[in-house]
Amino acid sequence: MSTRIKYRIGKSTAFQALTVVLSASCVIPLLAILFYIIKAGITKINWSFITNVEKPVGEMGGGVAHALLGSIIIILMAALIAVPIGIMVGIYLGENKTSKLAYWSRLSVDILQGVPSIVIGIVAYIWMVKPFGYSAISGSIALSIMMLPIVVRSTEETLKLLPDSLREAAYALGMPFHRVILKVIVPCGISGILSGVMLSVARIAGETAPLLFTAFGCQFLSADIRKPMETLPHVVFKYAISPYNEWKELAWGASLILLLWVLLLNIITKVITRKWKVQL
């Protein structure tokens, strides 16, 4: 072999090695974060941590029960708002591919997907907090705006993948439009729609920015959606930037719970998509 060819092959191998090294090093920060959070958080988590609410600085045994409850309530409410709307818009977009409204609403979904979460927080703040004050429902509205594009997109994509013969068969039997959609199309695509919903919940479960000036945070166990409510991501933020060491310790526990919960949601979504062979 001439030196020229050797040089070219060597260059090729070198590039391949570089690619492998760079790719592998992408995993390092992820592993570092997982390792660090688990190591620092695992000792903080015990029964009293999960069942107690925030204690004043200096008092031992504070917990995150209020944040857990708040997170669950706010996420459920957000899903309650976003899922029906998102699925309906997705159905419309899947069934009307070329109409003018479809074009504009698809563009709106695209825009919404790119809007930074903090801007959505501002909008929810203007719409809900300025007239009515801080409340859990305003946080849910902010989060539901963030969920919408994901639910719409996954519904639309799923419906597009279903063969037209399915629709035509149903129409040929004389089924009206709404029954074709609700009894044939949606059940056939339910796996895709469900994984979209799961994905959107996973996406918003860790969001803090839109909650900063909507749900705001609160020290007590509260289930009143018209009042401020604490959430898990916000409690991590609040404790992490506080100057008190005890609170920082609590923050590690809270982040571990948050991390596990978000990763769990993601893994469930993965399993669903893999099992039902959904393409998102």
């Binding site: 995993v27 000036f213 933020f237």
Partner: protein, 328 residues
């Protein structure tokens, strides 16, 4: 409906035929019920169709509403401060001076620095998964791991950055003789770089997988090495797609709030170099909107949000347009 009515009239007027017609009447009643049902079905169908249209219209209204709300709410600041707001160098709410340049600069510096750091890594992942090792358990693991990077909440990145990155950067800063603060634009860029890897990596991977194998085989048959195929076939072919991925990453980086807020130091002076502390548009909103009681102050922050909205929307739309063009 009408035919069935006629029939009943007939049966009534001719009682002798009742035995024979009773069968028919039953049938007619059945058709009547069926027709009533189908009428109901038709009504439900039109209601269903209409509600789909209305809800889709709501999406458009929602986005327009967001835009109009932001514009209307930033009017006081537009009026009081004018366009000069965007290049004013001082931000001092106490003296009612609002200039957004430090934050614009902070946002641009952190985002582009993050992009610069992350692009080699994300392209490497894209090439690794798209070209070198598309199948197998190792690449699968890498793919899932990269997707998990996007799943970790940004507040956790911020907290981890606070606990791990800040001391590391402090050490680095002592070595290169700059004030060892630890917080600052450089630290935020590092965290951001990690966070935005998945966006361009996953898009780049799917683009690279779309390169027709006939093109690659043609190059191989001419005696090209793997690297030469990548450089002169795959990258030129996927250039616009890779660029779109970078744009989407940039959109993410510009709007990222929590992680940046926690490690950037939150000072409102002009950033001197990449190691100085600063603030981005998103982080200043996160820090100050809750306590901005003055009318103009509040509006000035909302105007920052408006700028952020415009910039990210334009970037995202361009990216999306490129992707659709490429996929077709």
């Amino acid at each position: 409906m009408e035919t069935s009515l006629d029939n009943t009239v007939v049966t009534r007027s001719e009682p002798s035929l009742r035995v024979i017609t009773s069968n028919a009447t039953q049938k007619n009643v059945k058709t009547a019920g069926r027709e009533k049902r189908s009428h109901r079905q038709i009504r439900t169908e039109s209601v269903f169709r209409r509600s789909l249209v209305i809800v889709s219209l709501c999406m458009v209204v929602l986005v327009l509403g967001i835009l109009i709300t932001l514009i209307v709410q930033s009017v006081p600041s537009l009026k009081a401060l004018g366009v000069g707001y965007l290049w004013g160098k001082t931000w001092d709410p106490v003296r009612d001076i609002y200039g957004a340049l430090p934050f614009l600069l902070g946002t641009l510096l952190t985002s582009f620095l993050a992009l610069l750091i992350s692009v080699p890594f994300s392209f490497a992942v894209a090439i690794f998964l798209g070209e070198y090792y598309p199948k197998g358990w190792m690449p699968d693991l890498l793919k899932n791991a990269v997707e998990l990077i996007a799943a970790v909440p940004s507040v956790i990145y911020g907290f981890w950055g606070l606990a791990v990155m800040v001391p590391m950067v402090q050490k680095l800063e002592t070595v290169i003789h700059v004030p060892p603060v630890g917080y600052g634009i450089f630290t935020s860029s590092l965290i951001l770089a990690i966070m935005i890897i998945p966006y361009s990596a996953s898009l780049g991977r799917s683009m690279i997988q779309m390169v027709p194998s006939s093109l690659k085989e043609a190059a191989y048959s001419l005696g090209a090495t793997r690297w030469e195929v990548i450089r002169s076939v795959i990258i030129p072919y996927t250039r616009s797609g890779l660029f779109a991925g970078v744009l989407l990453s940039l959109g993410r980086a510009l709007g990222e709030t929590m992680a940046v807020t926690m490690v950037i130091g939150n000072t409102t002076s002009m950033p001197q170099n990449i190691f100085s502390t600063g603030n981005t548009m998103a982080s200043v909103i996160a820090n100050e909107l809750g306590e901005a009681d003055k009318h103009v102050y509040n509006a000035a922050l909302i105007e920052l949000g408006l700028v952020l909205f415009f910039v990210t929307v334009v970037i995202n739309i361009i990216g999306k347009k490129i992707i659709t063009k490429f996929s077709n």
